[in-house]
Symmetry: C2
Subunit: 205 residues, 2 copies
């Protein structure tokens, strides 16, 4: 088990050139999002939304909002991964299925709803932080799942988030956090770039 | 390959109870961070830092800053995963090894440094967003790597970030984004909680 996740992580790299002729199936898109939503989130908020951009027309609109990067058009699908602001307001509803499945009891849910509401309602920075955290955890899960399916990906944070909200008529409170292009690779991609030495990033306490 | 990442993602859950007697080795800690840093980051900023909290004394200090949650003490190691603010100022240095390995050329690096500097220097919100994005991508990679090593984890965003910065004398610009407890499970943990239906979170364009 470790060897394969190790191999997946070690072989993943950010891909610029996609095979524009090889599609990702609707089943794969669905499966990628299903797996992405198994990422954790604070209070089990599940404060994320996914838009799978696959039509030629929508790809052109997204390309124009992401510095005209060709990979948005060439990749079979680009996910707009959003974090949800003010997600605490839906938390009681969101946790209903965890009560019904017998995992959480009513008093745990009540206490989480109370804590989340007290912490988030007037703290817009925390809402934004939490939206970015959850969307990014889901995005990384999606990228590794894709890698495991023989697909390649590129995470992009350079795009016009306001423009995407407007152009794609996103749900209220949906903050576009990252674009993830997914498809099959073409030739000419960079190999994985070297990382900082571990000693530069890890300390002990 | 897909079956195993699928199984890892499907079997990961947030663990509250850790076996306080079973340690994670220093080798494993190092390997977890090495793999975490293979996550992607904008401009290859690698804007992250990791503090591995393992000593009894440091665990007690961290527990006091995270709502007194016992798992911080019981887990063999808790990582303070930080995103780095103002990381664009080190970008030219950071990318040096990618030039030396022949992957990036000087003009690509110059253009990334210029774009990152123009975008980030006066935009503190973007610096924070980017720090949270990168740290969260690394955190998810670390959690799945741990799962593959037979370890279990819990991601926590409920802690006193200011207190942690001060108490652990973090590097300048290091923003604590998430705590990840890592160890072996004890009895009594929740199973994985159900997720929202895919139709509630996925749309197509």
């Amino acid at each position: 088990m470790f060897n394969s996740i190790k191999t997946l992580i070690e072989s993943r790299n950010s891909v610029n050139y996609f095979d524009a002729k090889r599609p990702v199936t609707a089943n794969d898109v669905h499966e990628l999002v299903r797996l992405a939503t198994l990422a954790p989130s604070a209070y089990h908020l599940q404060n994320w939304k996914f838009v799978a951009v696959q039509s030629d027309e929508a790809k052109q609109r997204l390309k124009a909002l992401s510095f005209d990067q060709q990979k948005v058009v060439d990749a079979s699908v680009t996910f707009i991964i959003c974090g949800t602001l003010a997600a605490h307001r839906q938390l009681e509803h969101t946790l209903q299925s965890s009560i019904e499945s017998g995992i959480l009891n009513r008093s745990v849910v009540d206490s989480w709803v109370s804590m989340a509401s007290n912490g988030h309602e007037t703290n817009l920075q925390l809402q934004r932080d939490e939206a970015i955290r959850s969307a990014s955890l889901a995005a990384m899960t999606l990228m590794l799942a894709a890698q495991g399916m023989g697909l390649v990906t590129c995470a992009m944070s350079g795009f016009d988030a306001q423009g995407v909200m407007h152009e794609f008529e996103l749900a209220p409170h949906a903050l576009p956090v990252m674009l993830i292009t997914v498809g099959y690779p073409a030739d000419g991609n960079w190999p994985q770039k070297p990382r900082k030495p571990i000693a530069d990033v890890l300390t002990f306490a």
